[in-house]
Symmetry: C2
Subunit: 438 residues, 2 copies
């Protein structure tokens, strides 16, 4: 009788556990939705209902995209290289005002296809029509945290803010027992949300013990606007409203001084870093090495496809590692193992999912990817961490397992009809062109 439901064998296992253990010629055995055993492959491949040969490649925890707006795949390349306000006012806001739930579902399915194909197994989303995002993630077999964006103006989804709170509460209840989907409360930012909104959002998050997620200190404009309106910096404003705490995930964290970093760290706030978006929008550089020195948890994310323009966490890692070396004029900053942790166990910790995913350890859910290293750009391999961060690309991932389910085999997606997903995306893009033309 087979011991395991699935065994992934014959690869170098990067566990990303506390000791950062690496097992050469190892295997990983899965029972049901969970990792059961990991070890060296001493006496042949253990018995399993399904055996997957890693062919000497790398066996890694699935990558975790700490912050994105998945459905914005449908806006990728619609408008680039523009001043922020022109981009928002002439392109993004007009098209978002026309969107509906089906648009978001289709855009998210497209994003899920791209994410699975590039090794991501979990993503955290902030957008509109998030029940459709949850449905798409579920259909694609991806783990995700989703939250409806809340702000002071009316939403194309829920209308007035009052309905936004109701919508969020309904989401929380609807998905409460789902093994893959969980919900967060997600006020947009300090300059788009009144103090009252923020405190109600915080209360709602605390009531249901779900994360509170917000964009924080992303741009200099935001800093100025918050200071003009409230007389204090975003971090001080956040703290004065009682929002800072271990339940808070602060996305971006670009413009922070040392005092503010100490305050956020002291309150146990977690950060998610989006280097490509911060570069493309010319927002600035998050002081990630200082956040890490202050012992803050820092995950990594891609942001949406309108400001990146891809969901590939491998290039995000590469960019992060290189950006902070440059920013500190020090080539030892953010070494490869540190950056891979940010995209796996630290992203999981930021999202409060670290007991579930983010590393390969018995008892955790089986979120596992295989990186095919039998390629010229990954040959020879002196150091697997270096290759993952500086040389590999999303499309080097050959297999993906999420929650014990094989969702990609030899780059073939098993949970969705890729042709249909792309055709529907094309249809939606024609609608977008019509909206823009008007």
């Amino acid at each position: 009788m087979a011991i395991f439901d699935i065994v992934v064998a014959n690869g170098t296992v990067l566990t990303m556990n506390q000791e950062n253990a690496v097992i050469n010629k190892g295997y990983l055995g899965i029972v049901g939705d969970s990792i059961s055993q990991i070890g060296p492959l001493s006496e042949g491949v253990p018995d399993a209902k399904m055996a997957i040969d890693a062919k000497g490649g790398l066996i890694l925890p699935g990558l975790i995209n700490g912050h994105t707006h998945a459905a914005m795949t449908l806006f990728r390349g619609l408008a680039d290289d523009l001043p922020l306000m022109e981009w928002l006012n002439n392109y993004i806001f007009p098209v978002e005002s026309k969107m509906d739930g089906d648009f978001v579902y289709r855009g998210t399915m497209l994003a899920c296809a791209e994410m699975i194909l590039s090794g991501t197994t979990t993503f955290c989303d902030m957008y509109l029509f998030e029940d459709e995002v949850a449905r798409a993630a579920k259909d694609a077999g991806m783990r995700s945290i989703v939250g409806e964006v809340l702000y002071d103006f009316d939403s194309p989804n829920y209308g007035s803010l009052e309905n936004g709170f109701k919508y969020t509460e309904t989401l929380i209840k609807k998905w409460a027992s789902d093994p893959l989907i969980s919900i967060a409360v997600e006020p947009h930012a300090l300059f788009t949300c009144s103090p009252d909104l923020l405190q109600r959002a915080d209360a709602l998050a605390k009531k249901y013990q779900v994360p509170l997620i917000i964009h924080l200190a992303e741009t200099l404009n935001e800093i100025e606007e918050v200071k003009n309106r409230y007389g204090v910096s975003p971090v001080d404003h956040l703290i004065s409203l009682g929002l800072a705490g271990p339940h808070l995930i602060a996305d971006h964290c670009v413009h922070l001084d040392d005092r503010e970093i100490a305050l956020l760290a002291g309150h146990g706030v977690k950060a998610v870093h989006m280097p490509e978006s911060n570069m493309k929008l010319a927002s600035g550089v998050s002081p990630v090495p200082k956040l890490l020195d202050a012992e803050m948890t820092v995950g990594i994310g891609t942001d949406g496809c309108a400001s990146n323009n891809n969901l590939d966490l491998f290039t995000e890692m590469d960019m992060a590692a290189k950006l902070h070396k440059l920013d500190n004029m020090d080539p030892t900053v953010l070494d490869a193992p540190t950056v891979l942790k940010m995209a796996t166990i630290e992203s999981a910790r930021a999202l409060d999912l670290d007991t579930i995913t983010g590393s390969l350890e018995p008892g955790k859910k089986a979120d596992v990817i295989i990186l095919d290293t039998d390629k010229p750009h990954l040959t020879p391999m002196y150091n697997p961490f270096s290759h993952v961060v500086y040389a590999a690309r999303g499309n080097d991932v050959s297999h993906s397992i999420i929650h014990g389910r094989l969702v990609m085999e030899d780059r073939r997606l098993l949970t969705l009809d890729l042709q249909e997903v792309m055709e529907k995306a094309q249809e939606k893009s024609r609608e977008v062109m019509d909206w823009i033309a008007k």
Copy 2:
């Protein structure tokens, strides 16, 4: 009777010509080694001995890697995240002292495989045993400019400098009439080459009318060392020695002030930009927008795999576009078409190959790639330039034609035995590990 030897049809042609013309549903006809016709596909695919279906993807000029050290693929990931001198003294210099011609040939073959697979059709190399680099490029069917590195110390290849000049002159004569390979004179840098060496190198380049290529103003250490030794900045030193001119290609150009930029531009010096290497080694940011404003020709390169660690010009473009937006805190800087020009026609111009390659125009040599866009991360497509720079990756390239010869078909390499290339690379990596261990 067929009009063309090869026709590439049914794709969007990005010509990268002077007008930056884009032809939707176009074709490109090749006769012999050259482009014969380009046009819209009005009445079916023209007659050809070989018809290649671009399947609605993008038809582009092959990318041009303006500066690399190809054989350093064999050192990729050997040592990262280290201070520069520790990296050089403990890893790179010791292994380079043990290298031989076969090592360089094998490393360059590996590099050619990676470059063809990621859409590069031409590269400019600076390293040791460059006759072997030329031989590898020729075997792989790639266009290249190669030059033996010259410096004040003995070389593992040619021994004393005197032999270095002889070796270079022999290279120039040997490859003079080759359709794919050309030779440059390549003194390493101003702090590793005496004024006498530099002037002799310059004279040699001028005698044979070949490019003179040098690393310039790459690091702050270099600036300091040149100032200490000669009392002037690298640019002033270069000019005082009479090296500045349209035959000079200056790699990196990181630490330049406005006066120096004006001087280089005034002398017609060309630049090659390596953003990923400059970031990873924490060298600094080249003032590329200012170089372009001064009407300097600026190409793009990857540098070697020990400081990048990949040869993918697609991610290099992405990084360049994002880095300069951040560095200038302006999202309109280095837009996608500008960056794609840098990796095609401007790199060609920098290398003095712009009458031969770098754009799709009748009469030019047929260096052509197809980008397969039938993928979720490239669907839908509002703007092909945006997708090429911000979303595509090297492994989205499906076909490559160099000098009229199909070298990659549906990602299968036709000019080299990939399995053998990777096996030989593995063998060489075991030698490297032995060298390091001693």
